[in-house]
Amino acid sequence: MECIRLEYDVDGENFASAGNASESVKRTLKQMGVSPESVRRVAIAMYEGEINMVIHAHGGRAEAEIYPDHIDIYLKDKGPGIADLELAMKAGWSTASENIRSLGFGAGMGLPNMKKYSDEMKVDSVVGVGTTVFLRIRF
């Protein structure tokens, strides 16, 4: 099936620019006439992922494939990896520093939120190597 492919570098050194990729995808979906409800689900799930890449993994790469009835999102980083995925998926559990919390994030809602707003989610993570998160959201 043909799709629109979008790719972004997520800058891990620049907290201010975190969200650029999600915003661009949001804008594209809006222009394509995808329902506002679906657009918002995509925006929130991807934005949480992008924020995670910046605060935990020194950035990475975000890829989106837009199909007529769904979007597939791949968030790839070469960060520290997730040691205990089950724990990381628990709402309220976080390894974020006090500094990150003072920026308004690190409440332990990132991964749970991504799961909540997506239809399919898969996390591949190897400690010391990196993490890839796959998200599928149907329109």
């Binding site: 915003e23 949480e48 308004g104 809602m109």
Partner: protein, 112 residues
């Protein structure tokens, strides 16, 4: 209620998008934790917060919010105001504290 009434009730200064003060809003939320806003907020169109960084505007944008109120007399940097202007999100700043600002809006009919 209109965004302009929110500004009036909170004795707030408008930092950008004055042309959108006529927009109708029905609900609001107050939080300094953007993660919680992304997790729990549904259709709220106003965000009251004491947090000043650009991710406040990004969070509001992702949630399709229309207005951000900075409490405790806080004023964001020009780059944050510029970002909000780009997105068409009204920014207000009030001297009132978060609890008081939320209370005033709630008693005047704004829902949660």
């Amino acid at each position: 209620m209109k965004i302009g009434e929110v500004a009036k009730l909170l004795n707030a200064e408008v930092l950008c998008c004055e042309d959108r003060l006529d927009t109708e809003i029905h609900t609001a939320c107050g939080s300094d934790m953007m993660s919680d806003v992304l997790a729990y907020v549904k259709d709220q169109s106003v965000l009251l917060t004491g947090l000043l960084n650009p991710q406040v505007v990004r969070t509001a944008e992702m949630m399709d919010m229309l207005c951000i109120v900075f409490v405790r007399g806080k004023r964001p940097e020009e780059s944050v105001i510029e970002l909000a202007r780009e997105k068409g999100i009204v920014l207000l700043t009030t001297e009132k504290r978060l609890f008081v600002a939320c209370g005033i809006l709630y008693t005047h009919g704004l829902g949660g």
